[in-house]
Amino acid sequence: MKESTPQIQKALDWVSMGNGIGFLLSDEHCPTRDVFQARADKLVIECANNLSIGENASLLGLVVGEIGNNTFDHNLGNWRDERGAYFVYDAEQRIVVIADRGQGVLTTLRQARSSIADDCEALTVAFTETLSGRAPERRGNGLKLVAKVVQEQQWKLEYHSGRGSYIIDGASTCTTKDDELKGMVAILTF
């Protein structure tokens, strides 16, 4: 995992604690999709005004938008306790952290493919195949483009869910950890 920053540690603490209600500050917590979207739009505007990021800010909006909206697409009405997403960014340090206390990728994708064996297989499917827990709705493409953009831009994405840690940093790898993370934590460095 990327060397911990206060933003990453807070995400891990929130997802790991027994009861997540009331832990996040209001400017870290997006209880609804509308709040998340407004903050994601603000991130793009701030980064577009940063000369070193410039037009790549639109791709940042694509990646952050897909990951953050997935939180709401797949957990609406089914949160463990605190609904919504933790979403913070630092345009200067070029880091975005998104987390949720939802079902996690394995539980979500097993709705569509019960044979998925573990978290790493679920994460690999999520980033490489067209499959969605909301089948038969026509979904399941967003994270494929996320992976492509992250690779092409030479950014780094860590996506932790359950016992799986899927890392895109040039090549894509998934490792299995001892500790289970209920929900997900995504860390993008760009």
Binding site: T130, R138, N141, L145
Partner: protein
């Protein structure tokens, strides 16, 4: 006749599935031409700051299924617009 649709009218940030679906349903009622009213339908992305595959899959994919090669795009220079439209082209439609 070319029917141009100004995508910025649906927002600068075209990002989530629910928003894409709502935009499509609204446009179906008030914006899209009937097949006998236009030869070509053109989506103009001038001024759009972000387009995601989820939004586009709800709006562009059904239009592509209906209009085929008579669906055209313009002002696709924005990197997220370009990446998303190129990506959708590679996905088989139902």
């Amino acid at each position: 006749m070319v029917m141009k649709i100004i995508m910025k009218n649906f927002g600068d940030f075209l990002s989530s599935r629910p928003a894409g679906k709502e935009a499509y349903l609204s446009a179906q009622a008030y914006v899209f031409p009937a097949k006998n009213e236009a030869d070509v339908i053109e989506l103009d992305f001038d001024g759009v700051k972000v387009l995601t595959p989820s939004w586009a899959d709800e709006f562009v994919t059904p239009l592509a299924e209906q209009w085929g090669d008579k669906l055209h795009f313009s002002h696709t220079e924005n990197l997220s617009v370009k990446a998303t439209l190129e990506f959708l082209k590679q996905i088989p439609t139902s």
